[in-house]
């Protein structure tokens, strides 16, 4: 939150990715897809940096001396687990977003490698990387 630079970065990456997937070159499309998926990952990541202090590993020492909020819903004060209003002190960052981002990265790794192999095959079969020439399926 309140991280203007991060928001601008995400917006720029979305723009670059969208521009790239509208090109005619297959490799540029694959690169654009990668950039788009990484900007989506950054978007997930940005929802988690809500002013926490440390990594969310709760040792006994920390558990005994809690001062801030760990992760609880407090609907009366308008707190919905990791999303807290301004001025509330959090002890940890939200651990969920890292798990989500890691999963999304793994999935985009798999799809990207698949896409790269496919584009290599398309190049081998058609001898071109121009998408507008790869249209045997019209009809």
């Amino acid at each position: 939150m309140n991280n203007t630079l991060l928001s601008i970065t995400i917006a720029l990456l979305f723009g670059i990715g969208t521009f790239m997937i509208l090109r005619k070159d297959i490799i540029k499309i694959v690169l654009g897809m990668t950039i788009l998926s990484h900007s989506a990952n950054l978007l997930i990541f940005s929802s988690g940096i809500t002013g926490g202090k440390t990594v969310p590993i709760i040792t006994e020492e920390i558990a005994q001396h809690t001062t801030g909020i760990i992760f609880t819903d407090d609907l009366v004060n308008g707190i919905l687990a990791p999303i807290v209003p301004e001025g509330t002190e959090m002890l940890f960052v939200d651990p969920m977003v890292q798990a989500l981002t890691l999963t999304a990265i793994v999935i985009s790794l798999a799809t990207t490698s698949f896409l790269l192999i496919l584009s290599y095959r398309v190049y081998k079969e058609h001898n071109t990387t121009d998408v507008s020439k790869v249209r045997r399926l019209r009809g």
């Binding site: 997937i21 297959i26 499309i29 897809m33 788009l36 998926s37 989506a40 990952n41 978007l43 997930i44 940005s46 929802s47 609880t72 819903d73 609907l75 919905l80 687990a81 990791p82 999303i83 969920m96 977003v97 989500l100 999963t103 999304a104 999935i107 985009s108 798999a110 799809t111 698949f114 896409l115 496919l118 584009s119 095959r121 398309v122 079969e125 058609h126 790869v134 249209r135 045997r136 399926l137 009809g139």
Partner: protein, 513 residues
């Protein structure tokens, strides 16, 4: 009790486990055949038991790893478990059919069995999960597995590898884009309410809505989900990929893709928009209604001009999915019931038709309709099955499709949507025309190339394929002559959709954490 408690996770984990086992058994074809048939029959029986259990005792909630509402949960309500029964039935038939249909060296001995198992795990996971991010993961599992399956070849599959690669490239790029849209929507929703559990999101958005502080971007998120699921279901502006991708797949996979995988989009719309965004329905229903009418029209008009049999049927799928969306878009209780009935009947009839098409193309040795003719003399069995499928899709009694179409039109008239029903009825006549023209060209008339008659007879279905087709045909007729259980189930599902409180209570259990 304890036995039923574990069924939701077994439906997801068992196919994944056996996908790994089948990698080790690659060269043992007989064993693979027996093992996979057993596993898929077991999955079907388990899903049926789950549906009966849910019908009698209410929603089953399974907490994976016992983490409560913060972990991954699987929820088997009537909609989810009903869809699982449908998908297990169709996948069992496709598996029995595929064992004889697919090439032995290039498909059955390599990746067919593992990928098919993973695909079924992805489908079951989508229908059973109660967690939004998990839904995304299972979408991706389903897509990657189906991409791998499209490449494989079968005996009636006359698509060159060149075309398949191109089709998969299209499918994967578009799918990755829709997945990114979905990920963005999920991230925005998580940043708004701070949870991924669908029931929990529903509760919190209802609280925000009641307090009058609903942020405006929730509407945008709901529309983004329409784009994602509309892409999956091949709704009008996003339908163009289907006619390229589905015909490139071999017949069993084509049946799965057209029978079940595009229904995932409908399931997503029903689940997400009725559970999470009931306040946005006033905006999404008219969009779905208008786009569904365009989908029906575009699909039917494109199908008429096709001479490639598989491509024509793929456009027919686009048109038929429009009828399901029409029922969803009209939005009353009765129309949604009708949409669910249409969904079930279309899934059965379409997968039967595609399985029969695969055999017909093998029988004919070509995929051009104009080069076929008179096959009723060489293969009366295929002619019967194909006729039954066409009758069901076109909506003639006594097939299941008649009841489904009748219910959709009746409910539309009752809800006062006269113009949409009139348009849909017009294109239903189109459907009748193009399906029966195709059937008559292929099976009636003079036998083309009669001197090769023994060739045609040699290329006829094996007993195993006949069993799969006949079982599907029995199901199609059964739902045509005795639709009451389906109707009762669909009404109950719709009642649960329109009142999600039991779902929320079952998931959150009244606990305040």
């Amino acid at each position: 009790m304890d036995m039923y408690h574990n069924i939701p996770i077994l439906l997801v984990a068992v196919p994944i486990f056996f996908a790994a086992i089948t990698v080790f058994l690659r060269s043992r074809f007989k064993l693979q055949k027996a093992l996979n048939t057993t596993v898929f029959a077991g999955l079907f029986i388990m899903s049926l038991a789950l549906l009966l259990h849910v019908w009698e005792n209410g929603i089953v909630v399974y907490e994976v790893g016992e983490w409560g509402k913060y972990g991954i949960i699987l929820v088997a309500d009537l909609l989810g478990s009903g869809m699982v029964v449908l998908s297990s039935f169709i996948s069992m038939m496709a598996m029995i059919y595929g064992q004889d249909y697919m090439d032995k060296e290039t498909a059955l001995d390599t990746t067919f069995f593992p990928l098919f198992n993973i695909m079924v795990a992805g489908l079951n996971g989508i229908f059973l999960t109660g967690d939004l991010f998990n839904l995304f993961v299972f979408f991706e599992v389903l897509v990657m597995a189906s991409c791998g399956l499209i490449v494989l070849t079968g005996r009636g599959d006359h698509t060159p590898m060149l075309y398949k690669i191109e089709a998969i490239f299209k499918y994967l790029v578009l799918n990755m884009f829709s997945i990114i849209v979905m990920l963005t929507a999920i991230a925005s929703l998580y940043a708004t309410v701070g949870t991924l559990n669908m029931a929990d999101i529903s509760v919190k958005l209802a609280q925000l809505s009641a307090a009058g502080t609903m942020p405006w971007h929730v509407y945008m998120i709901a529309l983004m989900f329409i784009v994602v699921f509309g892409y999956k279901a091949a709704m009008f502006p996003l339908h163009f990929w289907l006619a390229d991708v589905h015909p490139s797949a071999p017949a069993p996979i084509h049946a799965m893709l057209s029978g079940m995988v595009i229904k995932v989009g409908i399931y997503g719309i029903l689940r997400i928009h009725y559970l999470i965004f009931p306040d946005v329905l006033f905006l999404t229903r008219p969009i779905i209604l208008i786009l569904s009418l365009v989908t029906i029209g575009v699909g039917a008009a494109s199908a008429i001009g096709q001479y490639d049999l598989k491509r024509m049927l793929a456009y027919s799928s686009v048109s038929q999915i429009g009828y399901v969306l029409l029922g969803v878009g009209m939005g009353s209780v009765y129309t949604t019931t009708a949409a669910l009935m249409y969904l079930v009947n279309h899934a059965m009839a379409k997968s039967m038709l595609f399985l029969a098409t695969g055999e017909t193309l093998y029988h004919a040795g070509t995929k051009d309709i104009r080069k076929m003719g008179g096959f009723i003399r060489t293969s009366p069995f295929l002619a019967t099955i194909f006729l039954m499928g066409s009758m069901s899709i076109a909506g003639l009694p006594p097939m299941g499709g008649f009841i489904a179409k009748f219910v959709v039109f009746d409910s539309g008239l009752e809800a006062g949507f006269y113009a949409p029903v009139a348009i849909a009825l017009l294109f239903a006549i189109f459907t009748l025309f193009y399906l029966f023209r195709t059937w008559m060209t292929i099976f009636w008339g003079e036998l083309k190339e009669p001197e090769n008659e023994s060739d045609f007879i040699a290329r006829s279905p094996t007993p195993q394929i006949k069993v799969a087709l006949a079982l599907l045909a029995v199901a199609v007729i059964f739902f045509g002559v005795y639709p009451e259980p389906l109707f009762a189930l669909a009404s109950e599902i719709t009642a649960q959709l329109f009142d999600p409180q039991p779902y929320i209570d079952a998931v959150l259990g009244g606990q305040v954490r």
